[in-house]
């Protein structure tokens, strides 16, 4: 019997007052905390009699350690970091400056190199980094300022007071598989906050609650997502230079799927490589982990990795709906930053610098609000104005229709992209619509039995154990660990749909799109189709793909007990 996690009812919870609660210790959350601290320092120096205190400013981070759940390629555009910490390059853990770029279009065995790197993919001046290490460093700076970062604590529920967000409830700890308190049960705290800043990253769970509660998305395009799936490799010396950046398009994807790969040379012969697969592909049998393994078989990649060792694996979704998918980012007692809002440049495939900038702008708004002690919608909407008059808007406006241009396939997308390039992002009209990715999924009945063109993207990988790996082996290298005795945090609202409808219509795509083997259809003679949905929740890498991609939209991802999740050391 599957029992799903929900906050225990009728429990007395400790109350803790707070000025600011930042949910999420990623680049956006940390930049916000750091900037706020800087502004407070400046203020306190000038106003010794009216000091602002950091005592009640908190960052909630669900991972056991700062940075542990941060995963990206990654390439950092230093623009916002230079504003936040001028001269940061001297002390930040940067792998190397980008020295060389190439873009390839791949066929099964061949490759065509773009003679000129398309401008959006030009990375000179950017840095290859490990986001995990970068955030660890940033987090240490935040802690030095005296702001408390609570690691191992998740924001599990928003506390609402009418139309005001009044705070955050943290996760209940010590709850067993049946959702009953264990002997070491600790109830989640109710943090009564003046403002809750949601910096949860992609598809934030509290962000989703907020959007649903206040209908924040009724004027926006539906957010669309990709799944980034990554492996970190140690390769023999000389294979790739530190700072060398490669992008690929084409194989193994067909024109029906959106996506491409990256390969970044880091330092000490460590290579970051991965694939981004748009979660709007038509065949529900597609398995992104398999796409990555197929990609590695291409001679370009196989040669690079030959004799090397895979040291880490991970996956995360990314929002690339662009400007038109971003909901209002501030309201009565709340703000939304970074990937949670959707500040990602899908054309350049970069969002870290935007997340950081959004955090800084939010801090400026919060600082003013703290001085006036006014956290109403009117006061906090200052953040919305700041974003719209900043370079975040400039940058995202130019690419506001980029991903939507691909709604009807690769070639249409390229044409649209070209048009948009010359029209400041407008293309054929100011706002291209989009549809949510899961609505692109076709039913099995409408697809060739063997997958047709996409045949090699379908089916689990066995792997040779050297270049390619089966999902479980890959998953082991994500360092994922959770308290085992807890309720399932992948809340399926109606398992009958899984067992009776989805299995027939779509063939249970959760087994395929989950990069962590959380979902399995196991034999069950009592079910009409002989199988029932079974979960391995402790495998979860917190990528949120299931919440995004399930065709019936009946899965809600909620944070498991804090401290659990992947360990993206070095990612």
């Amino acid at each position: 019997m599957l029992v799903f996690r929900e906050p225990l009812p009728n429990i007395e919870r400790p109350q803790m007052p707070a000025d600011v609660v930042i949910v999420g210790g990623g680049p956006a959350g940390m930049a916000c905390a750091l900037r706020l601290s800087q502004l407070m320092d400046q203020h306190n120096a000038k106003n010794p009699d009216a000091q602002l205190s950091r005592e009640n400013i908190y960052v909630l981070e669900k991972a056991r350690e700062i940075g542990q759940h941060c995963l990206s390629g990654a390439l950092l555009d230093p623009r916002s970091m230079r504003e936040l910490l001028p001269g940061f390059e001297k002390e930040a853990p940067l792998d190397s400056e980008v020295t060389k770029e190439a873009v390839y279009f791949l066929t099964e065995k061949g490759k065509f190199k773009f003679p000129i790197t398309p401008p959006p993919l030009r990375d000179h001046g950017n840095y290859v980094i490990s986001l995990n290490r970068f955030v660890k460093w940033l987090g240490a700076k935040v802690e030095e300022t005296g702001i408390t970062i609570f690691t191992g604590f998740a924001g599990s529920e928003l506390l609402l007071d009418g139309d005001r967000v009044a705070g955050v409830r943290t996760d209940d700890k010590g709850v067993d598989k049946q959702n009953q308190p264990k002997s070491n049960f600790e109830p989640g705290y109710d943090l009564q906050a003046k403002v809750v800043i949601l910096a949860e990253g992609t598809r934030g769970s509290l962000t989703q609650q907020l959007i649903a509660r206040f209908g924040l998305d009724h004027d926006c395009n539906p957010q669309t997502y990709g799944q980034g799936i990554k492996e970190l490799w140690e390769v023999p010396a000389g294979r790739i230079a530190s700072g060398e950046v490669v992008y690929t398009l084409g194989w193994p994807l067909t024109t029906n799927e959106y996506g491409g790969a990256w390969i970044y040379g880091g330092k000490n012969h460590v290579v970051s490589l991965g694939f981004v697969v748009g979660l709007d592909y038509p065949d529900p049998r597609l398995d992104p982990q398999r796409v990555l393994q197929e990609f590695k078989k291409h001679p370009l990649v196989a040669r690079l990795l030959d004799g090397g060792k895979m040291i880490r694996y991970g996956a995360k979704s990314l929002p690339y709906g662009g400007w038109w998918s971003i909901p209002p980012v501030a309201g009565n007692g709340w703000m939304i930053l970074g990937d949670s809002a959707g500040f990602l440049n899908s054309q350049r495939l970069k969002g870290i610098h935007l997340a950081i900038k959004s955090g800084m702008l939010a801090a400026e708004t919060v600082f003013e609000a703290l001085k006036k002690d006014d956290f109403s919608a009117a006061s906090l909407s200052d953040f919305q104005r700041r974003v719209e008059s900043s370079w975040i808007k400039d940058e995202l406006w130019k690419v506001r229709n980029f991903h939507q241009g691909f709604e009807h396939g690769f070639w249409r997308g390229m044409i649209n992209a070209g048009l948009q390039q010359f029209t400041g992002g407008r293309g054929l009209r100011n706002r291209y619509p989009s549809t949510a990715g899961y609505q692109h999924l076709k039913k099995l009945a409408a697809l060739p039995a063997d997958g047709g063109d996409a045949a090699n993207l379908i089916g689990p990988v066995r792997g040779d154990g050297k270049l390619t790996f089966d999902k479980l082996t890959d998953l082991y290298h994500s360092g994922t660990k959770h308290e085992e005795d807890q309720p399932a945090h992948l809340v399926i609202h109606d398992t009958d749909v899984c067992n009776t409808r989805c299995i027939k219509e779509f063939g249970s795509p959760c087994q395929n799109f989950c990069p962590a083997n959380v979902y399995e259809m196991v034999d069950d003679a009592t079910q009409p189709n002989g199988k029932r949905i079974s979960l391995n929740p402790s495998n979860c890498v917190h990528c949120k793909t299931c919440d995004i991609a399930d065709p019936y939209q009946i899965i809600t991802w909620v944070p498991p007990e804090g401290g659990g999740g992947p360990n993206y050391d070095g990612m």
Partner: protein
């Protein structure tokens, strides 16, 4: 009851380990966590404090990163922490570690000292017992339960093969605590906040050096155990295979 808990920071249980250049230790670029048996020792100390009031002090010897273990302990309810901070503490043998601890606590008057029964990295199970001898205290190992008595304490000791034994001991005493004897408590938000203001005394290597000597043992070489695994396939009808297996169990594996 004034209780000292000796704690150690060790590489995370499933961290991928790499050998250093000289193959005498591991590369330190791994994730660390508290030695699991020590977490149970701390939990037991906190429970004793809850029952009999008193103070729980935690101590560790290690580099700056080891402070994390102390912070977590303070967040869970320990009152004070002592950090013997120096990279050199990592390479000490059990005897020297115990000597360093003894020197650091010479001005304190503890009733009880707990350690975990062994560390997940070295697995020697010695530091606690050595410390007891240096202090001249009675000790008992692999303890499951502790009760206060008029004359001191009564402890339940775990023995092999499902046997147990109660032992009466005077105080002060040192106990090495068995893992898994109770459920570990979670640190709370308030606990974490309060931990920031709890006393954390740093002790340098120089301050305890005179109590120590040269290491009495040396790791000459650390290596990945070579599995000279020649998998022997046993074939034949089931009854025969069963006999072959038993023959292996008796003569090669020596369990029969």
């Amino acid at each position: 009851m004034k209780i000292l808990v000796c704690m150690k920071q060790v590489p995370q249980k499933d961290a991928p380990l790499k050998l250093n250049e000289s193959s005498t230790w591991i590369r330190e670029d791994v994730s660390y966590e508290v030695n699991e048996p020590d977490a149970f020792a701390l939990e037991e100390a906190l429970r004793q404090k809850e029952k009999h009031s008193g103070e729980v002090v935690v101590i560790t010897a290690g580099p700056a990163r080891a402070q994390q273990v102390l912070r977590e302990a303070l967040a869970k309810g320990a009152d004070r922490a002592i950090h013997l901070e120096d990279n050199a503490f990592v390479g000490l043998d059990a005897s020297n570690t115990a000597r360093a601890f003894a020197a650091a606590i010479q001005d304190e008057k503890f009733d009880l000292i707990f350690t975990g029964l062994q560390s997940d990295d070295y697995g020697y199970a010695q530091t606690g017992v050595v410390l007891a001898e240096l202090l001249g205290w009675p000790h008992a190992t692999i303890i499951m339960q502790i009760e206060k008595t008029d004359g001191g304490i009564r402890v339940k000791r775990e023995l092999e093969a499902g046997y147990f034994q109660f032992v009466d001991m005077p105080l002060p005493a040192l106990l090495t605590i068995q893992s898994g004897i109770n459920k570990l408590r979670y640190a709370t938000l308030i606990g974490i906040k309060q931990a920031k203001n709890k006393p954390l005394r740093k002790v340098t290597l120089a301050e305890v050096q005179s109590a120590m000597g040269a290491n009495m043992q040396k790791i000459e070489r650390l290596y990945i155990p070579q599995k000279t695994k020649n998998t022997e396939f046993l074939e034949g009808p089931s009854a025969e295979v069963a006999k072959k297996l038993v023959e292996k169990l008796r003569n090669e594996v020596r369990v029969l």
